[in-house]
Symmetry: C2
Subunit: 315 residues, 2 copies
């Protein structure tokens, strides 16, 4: 029996992870986007968006998930068309890989509808095209963990080489999303073009330590290694209250704290769910007090599954 309707959830991701700027990302449990894709007689793609809170382009030519789904259909040429609905649940410009989650949900849903012609990992090249559309460059540090789960290293972009970090266990990650928008392009444009070799060495020492910490689940090691001496100093002014919120997180027991993606979301690393809840409350309260912005708090371990199929209906 062939799938007629497929519903897929793709999770949010924390990319950069501080020191791992442009190369590391992990999947978390929530939030995420949902795509429902159904077969239809007419070839090609029809597309719509359902969302009650964010402004997302419903024009298929402008939406990343429609873009990547179209690319897949163009290449794979199934004998039917696809009607796709994006349930846009994630805030945009949040630093949580919102566009990546939409693209990933779309490619996984379309692949399933076509009876899985491609392996999960081979969907990556389509999903990164959504990132190219969203931000001008085919970044994979949100797409890869949303698609594959776990912690993913983008070792190289040309050619694209994604290495899955083998993970024994995960500390608890706190993500706080304050209601301000940071545009990825702007966050990128303020980065320095050149950096001190000594700062770069410090950063890759931290990246190597972070990699070991992720693999072994060593919260203290992860915590000290997320320290980012290159992108964070350039970006903190984009997030009102950043310094105070980070300070509050560390005082509340976080072993490390930095920007998620290019912000405004911030992540903190905790050694237990109890500690994580206290840290999340403190961070949200500090955002409210210092910057007068509301925020959402998400708490989870690393999501090892990545995008997952919520349902398949055959009729």
């Amino acid at each position: 029996m062939k799938a007629k309707t497929v519903t897929v959830f793709a999770p949010a991701t924390i990319s950069n992870l501080g020191s791992g700027f442009d190369v590391l990302g992990i999947a978390i449990d929530k939030p995420g986007d949902i795509v429902v894709a159904a077969r239809r007689r007419e070839p090609g793609l029809s597309f719509s968006v359902k969302s009650d809170k964010v402004e997302v382009p419903s024009d298929p030519a402008k939406n990343v998930s429609a873009h990547v789904a179209s690319m897949m259909l163009d290449e794979l040429k199934p004998p039917f068309g696809v009607e796709m609905v994006l349930h846009k649940l994630m805030p945009i410009g949040s630093g949580l890989g919102s566009s990546a989650a939409s693209s990933v949900a779309a490619v996984v849903a379309v692949n399933e509808l076509l009876s899985r012609p491609l392996k999960r990992r081979d969907l990556l090249r389509f999903a990164v095209e959504g990132e190219r559309k969203a931000s001008g460059t085919p970044h994979a540090d949100n797409v890869a963990p949303s698609l594959l789960g776990g912690a993913q290293l983008i070792r190289s972009y040309l050619p694209l080489d994604v290495v899955s970090i083998p993970i024994l266990k995960s500390p608890v990650w706190v993500v706080v999303h304050p209601h301000v928008i940071v545009r990825t392009e702007e966050a990128r444009s303020i980065l320095p073009y050149m950096v001190n070799l000594s700062a770069a060495v410090q950063q890759w020492g931290n990246v190597a330590g972070l990699t070991i910490g992720l693999a072994t689940g060593d919260a203290a090691l992860i915590g000290k290694c997320v320290e980012d001496v290159i992108a964070e100093p350039a970006r903190i002014h984009l997030v009102p209250g950043f310094v105070k919120v980070k300070d509050a997180a560390l005082k509340a027991g976080a072993v490390g704290c930095s920007l998620s993606g290019s912000g405004p979301s911030m992540f903190a690393v905790a050694t237990s769910f109890k500690a994580a809840r206290a840290i999340g409350r403190t961070m949200a309260r500090t955002f409210s007090r210092i910057a007068r912005v509301q925020s959402e708090v998400y708490i989870s371990r690393i999501n090892f599954k990545g995008a997952r199929i919520l349902s398949i209906r055959s009729r």
Copy 2:
């Protein structure tokens, strides 16, 4: 029964490992230096060097191993003195951590003679002072693996933070030492002060991949991740024949190849001892043909033990 005479071997090391400039190092089996330390009545240190091929300062004020041994004695104040002989077996200026091996052998020998007042890891701070004496900066990327074995990450220098990479297995490492001398200070002085952010990101993607490769023993991953886009391009002219030798190594089956330390030694990564022997022969032959220099070849897996006590005599 207290040790009266202790003989310690400290192994050579491959630091930098290409992309892991200034932060990564592994211990190999050979070559290495040997220190023999014996108790004597008179307090303080007497020091001599035995070596039939290299010029090493036998003046205790100039020799790194005497320097670190003196520092230990000054701090620990044992009720006896130490007579120390450095059997300098390693070539100097080789890029194989020659001064580090001397310092490490000295601190392990003195510690053993004093009935081990310090843990192995706590000897690090003394051994790095030898590096400060040898090159002006307290580098630890040779000292840490020579002392502790395995693969060591110098995550941070201020404060010194050494993280041991948990290793499942090791590919085979080929080290070729051509008979030319590269002074560490010179190799350091020609490095750029600033680097492109994009090159730095490429480098830390490789460093993270290298860390995973070292942990899992994935030769192919290690091989592609040793690619160094920052220090190697600046340094290759210090080693006559570098480009041809690297090329020959890769053609002979090496999965990766770069400078060991700041050169002139080069290392290559092989998937078997048989392949390693062929690679080593080819590299040595190419050095001879292109640059008219002789070289030694060393082949081993990662040395997990580091410095080891060869003998203890109680009378």
